[in-house]
């Protein structure tokens, strides 16, 4: 029966090439945008280089200090010392890394200025992330303790600073803000969209200007907590929450007295939402999900409404077929199924075109340098999501016309 449906769907497509072009063009365009968007969201939130462990990581990035009425609020990253005391000591974690948010600096080579993004990290940073060392090795606890002036740089900075050198630059020196550092390792760079791990140059946290000894709660640091398994994360979150609860309050920092601290160990996406919404309030999160779903539905819904009209016209041409099928025993429900299957089939043809087009667009984004080290892909997650989107779009644009046509009276359908 399915083959019979698909044969018909294919023949109907061939019957009016222009109609078919318009239909497929609309479907392809909509699905292409959705696929590229899905790929971009996967790029932002998925577990990719150098955060391949994101699925079993927690991010401690922002602290909110507020008074009991929540009228005055101070929000920002943590101090190194606070994280050392409350995050580094988490027993249920496999490893905890502390690193600064990325900062800015300059370096000069041959009179040319190189703008740098810098990051101060501990040794665990190289275990929590999966940066690939192209040359040399990461600094360790001993290097840090001895206060050695060493750095790890990205392959891109190597190219800029050492002028396309093909030789190893390990042991060579690099001058940043008038201080000379020895290059200890060269890593393949990561995209700036992964803000907690991105930088051009990585310093041990004991390097000058790291401010790691600041005694307050807030500073310029964040922690990435690696769990043994994704399932261990709730236990770590509970342990961290408990550690935060032990902090005596009210407290005072930079002249601001606060009696409430909101400090959480979040999954990457939850952390993003918390920063984005500036709230840990559940109704706000639900509202966000609601609005996001509505936007997505509208984005698919508007072209789907257009397609509904096209589909109704296409199906009206087939009224006689509907009459015949019903006369020979097809229940309305079966016909409804037939038209939906046909519509999904057509949507999937559009999906194949969209997949090809998305590949081209993603290739362009990756190679254009719009986002440094962009690694947008159509992986399994994106592909399966795209399939789901195709299915949803097919249903959205097919159900209504199918319902209308399947309810046609047999005698009327035969007369058409």
């Amino acid at each position: 029966m399915l083959l019979n449906y698909l044969k018909i769907a294919w023949k109907v497509l061939l019957r009016h090439p222009f109609y078919t072009f318009i239909t497929l063009f609309g479907i392809t365009l909509t699905l292409t945008v959705l696929m590229v968007l899905t790929s971009f969201l996967d790029h932002l939130f998925g577990a990719h280089y150098p955060e391949g462990n994101r699925n079993r990581s927690l991010y401690i990035t922002m602290m909110m200090q507020t008074d009991s009425a929540r009228e005055s609020v101070n929000t920002g990253p943590y101090s190194f010392q606070f994280l050392k005391r409350h995050a580094k000591t988490l027993k249920s974690a496999e490893r905890v890394s502390i690193a600064s948010m990325f900062g800015f600096s300059n370096s000069y080579v041959g009179g040319k200025r190189i703008k740098l993004n810098t990051k101060f990290t501990d040794a665990d940073f190289w275990h929590v992330t999966n940066y690939k060392f192209l040359e040399g090795k990461p600094y360790n606890d001993q290097t840090i303790a001895q206060g050695e002036r060493v750095v790890v740089i990205t392959d891109d900075l190597k190219k800029q600073y050492f002028e396309e050198s093909t030789e190893s630059v390990i042991g060579k020196t690099i001058e940043i803000e008038s201080i000379t550092y020895k290059v200890m390792g060269v890593v393949r760079g990561g995209p700036p969209t992964r803000v907690y791990t991105y930088a051009d140059v990585f310093f041990p946290y004991t390097a000058p200007k790291s401010n790691y000894q600041n005694a307050g709660m807030r500073g310029g640091y964040q922690a990435i907590v690696l769990a043994k398994t994704p399932g261990d994360r709730p236990e770590i979150q509970a342990e961290y929450d408990n550690a935060i609860r032990q902090i005596p309050l009210p407290a005072k920092e930079n002249g601001f007295t606060f009696s409430v601290i909101v400090a959480k160990a979040d999954t990457y996406f939850d952390g993003f939402l918390r920063t984005f919404l500036r709230s840990d309030n559940e109704p706000n999160r639900l509202a966000f999900y609601g609005i996001a779903s509505l936007v997505l539905l509208m984005f698919m819904g508007l072209p789907a409404i257009n397609l509904v009209n096209v589909n109704v016209s296409r199906m009206l041409e087939r009224a006689s077929e509907i009459g015949v099928r019903k006369a020979f025993g097809a229940p309305s429900q079966t016909l409804l199924g037939q038209f939906i299957i046909e519509n999904i089939f057509i949507t999937f043809i559009g999906g194949v075109f969209a997949l090809g087009l998305s590949y081209l667009i993603i290739y362009y984004i990756n190679s254009s340098g719009l986002i440094a080290y962009a690694d947008l892909t159509i992986n399994w997650v994106v592909f399966v999501t795209s399939l789901g989107v195709c299915l949803l779009f097919g249903l959205l644009s097919g159900v209504l016309p199918a319902l209308k046509m399947s309810r046609l009276k047999i005698v009327d359908a035969l007369k058409a």
Binding site: F328, A330, P331
Partner: protein
Amino acid sequence: MIHLKNVEKVYRTSSIETLALSNINLHIQKKEFVSIMGPSGCGKSTLLNIMGLLDAPSQGTMELDGNPVNNFQDKALARLRNEKLGFIFQSFHLINDLSVLDNVEIPLLYRRSSARERRLLAQQALEKVGLSNRMSHFPRQLSGGQKQRVAIARAIVGRPEIILADEPTGNLDSAMGNEILSILQQLNSEGATIVMVTHDEAMAKRTHRLVRLFDGSQVL
């Protein structure tokens, strides 16, 4: 087999009410070959549609094998049409996008039969109407007579007890019309009950019984 009691059919629009059938009482016996005649617009096709469960009477009852079907839901009616009835239409109503064989298979799609079984039964039905050499053709490639023979094959492929033919020879020349009627007579002799709407007196005379309609009423 088919029993109509006091059947009435009224078509209503917002402003007009048209009485298409009035007080029809008709009993069609098993293995009968009945023709329905009357001028255009007298309600012949409406009557056939009601007998074929394609339309519902406004009043009165319609019984099939002694069971009133007036209150049957869509699914039950579809099943009855599929198992007990076969239709032949004046304008053939073949699906142009499907091959002859696929067209004939349609009634079997709504039964639990395998693809192989469907193919076999469709081939047998086409052999019966002398079209075994046109199975992979498409309706557009056939003559009117051949199309009607495909329509007959489609009507009989599910081995229904009743065949309802709405002017099956109306679009054909007399030689082809005779050929189609011969096929119907053959099916009737093999046990099928046939009700045929026709304009042709000569054709009607070749059936067992003639029912005449005028302005929606039976003429005695």
